[in-house]
């Protein structure tokens, strides 16, 4: 009798562990993203931080990777494959999940360029036909709806994105960004990327 009870107890423990593992398997999509984007979605060069990103923006980018509309080199090398087989529901769920994570600022820009970057971001440079980023990306670079949060993203990521529009790559972000970024000088790009990397 006690032997049967022992067997039941052991089986109960084994099944409860199996159930927990099965629960982990449902999070496979997130684990796959975290390989490159970091355990709490904070990013790991060259993969950008996803934590706290606007869900509509993340979802649109995943669709753009899948359709190859976004064609810069790292996107092609890594994200085209990663996004190739995502269902609409998974895209929605991933975007929602990452938007709930708390974003940590990268703080890795050049501190000497922050003031210049802030001026470009908040006021623009009308004499050079450069718009103020704040109008779309919000006063604390937090974005809104499909417009991404830029605050606290890594310096190298922001710099690369701004350079690539000027080089003719398509981010499928919508009309203004290639035109805007194409007008920025190298110094202005570095200033903006520096400023934004520190914004919480």
């Amino acid at each position: 009798m006690s032997y049967v009870r022992l067997k039941i107890a052991v089986m109960a423990m084994a099944f409860s562990t199996a159930a927990a593992l099965a629960g982990h398997a449902e999070n496979a999509a997130i684990r796959n993203c975290n390989w490159c984007h970091g355990g709490s979605g904070q990013g790991y060069t060259p993969a950008p931080r996803l934590a706290g990103q606007r869900p509509q923006y993340v979802a649109t980018q995943l669709m753009n990777f899948s359709s190859h509309a976004r064609d810069n080199p790292f996107s092609k090398m890594y994200m085209w494959g990663a996004a190739a087989n995502l269902s609409r529901q998974t895209v929605h769920d991933l975007a929602a999940y990452y938007s709930t994570l708390f974003p940590r600022a990268a703080n890795d820009g050049d501190r000497d360029l922050v003031a210049e970057g802030r001026a470009i971001y908040q006021e623009g440079m009308p004499d050079s036909n450069i718009v103020a980023c704040v109008v779309c990306h919000a006063p604390n670079a937090e974005g809104v709806r499909g417009i991404p949060r830029l605050g606290g993203l890594a310096y190298s990521y922001l710099k690369r994105r701004l350079e690539q529009w000027g080089e003719g790559y398509h981010a499928a972000a919508g009309p203004p960004m290639p035109d805007i970024a194409g007008k920025l000088s190298q110094n202005q790009i570095e200033a903006l990327a520096s400023y934004l990397s520190f914004v919480k």
């Binding site: 109008v135 974005g143 000027g166 000088s185």
Partner: protein, 187 residues
């Protein structure tokens, strides 16, 4: 990597379109950026001058307008007048019918004249009176709600914005939202 900024009117127009949209249809960014397409030239020129003279308050447009010469102002207004994209839409539709009634008949109990009387039955405006057809829903609400805080800021130099003050004051928030929704869908 730098696009050559050739200066002149084309570069300036492209710069305006960076915010106001590739066909100047407007854009709902963090701040709502109004439609300029099809706008009355006299109204647009008046607004740009109001920004330059700080009679109309908007920190972004202060900076933008200061870089414009009078010749540029006239040329830009003419360029925008000629554009005719579809309205971007997106406003809630449940109060559009109420908005149409307010637009066409006014609100007699509140002494508010019919908008159509000045802005035209199709809301296309005329002379210094702006086109409202196809304007952004959140922009229209913001303007009507903030009229006195944003326009006519120099009491020593009153301008045409004074005409709208009593209207903006007398409309309730719901009425503003209804009429904004209605005109935002007009082509």
């Amino acid at each position: 990597m730098n696009k050559v900024v050739t200066g002149g009117i084309q570069a300036k127009l492209s710069y305006c379109k960076d915010c106001h949209g590739p066909s100047a249809q407007g854009y709902d960014g963090y701040f709502p950026i109004p439609r300029l397409a099809g706008q009355q030239t006299e109204y647009l020129e008046n607004q740009l001058r109001a920004f330059i003279e700080h009679r109309r308050t908007n920190n972004i447009m202060f900076n933008v307008a200061h870089a414009l010469s009078p010749g540029m102002i006239a040329a830009l207004a003419a360029d925008f007048r000629a554009l005719d994209p579809k309205p971007i839409g997106g406003a809630p539709t449940r109060f559009v019918a109420l908005g149409r009634t307010i637009f066409q008949d006014g609100v007699p109990d509140a002494n508010v004249a019919a908008c159509a009387a000045c802005h035209g039955p199709e809301a296309t405006g005329s002379g210094p009176i702006p086109r409202l057809a196809g304007q952004l829903y959140p922009y229209l609400i913001k303007e009507l709600v903030n009229w006195g805080k944003e326009r006519g800021q120099n009491p020593a130099k009153p301008d045409t914005s004074a005409i709208m003050s009593p209207v903006a004051h007398s409309l309730t928030r719901s009425q503003i939202e209804a009429v904004a929704a209605y005109v935002s869908y007009l082509k």
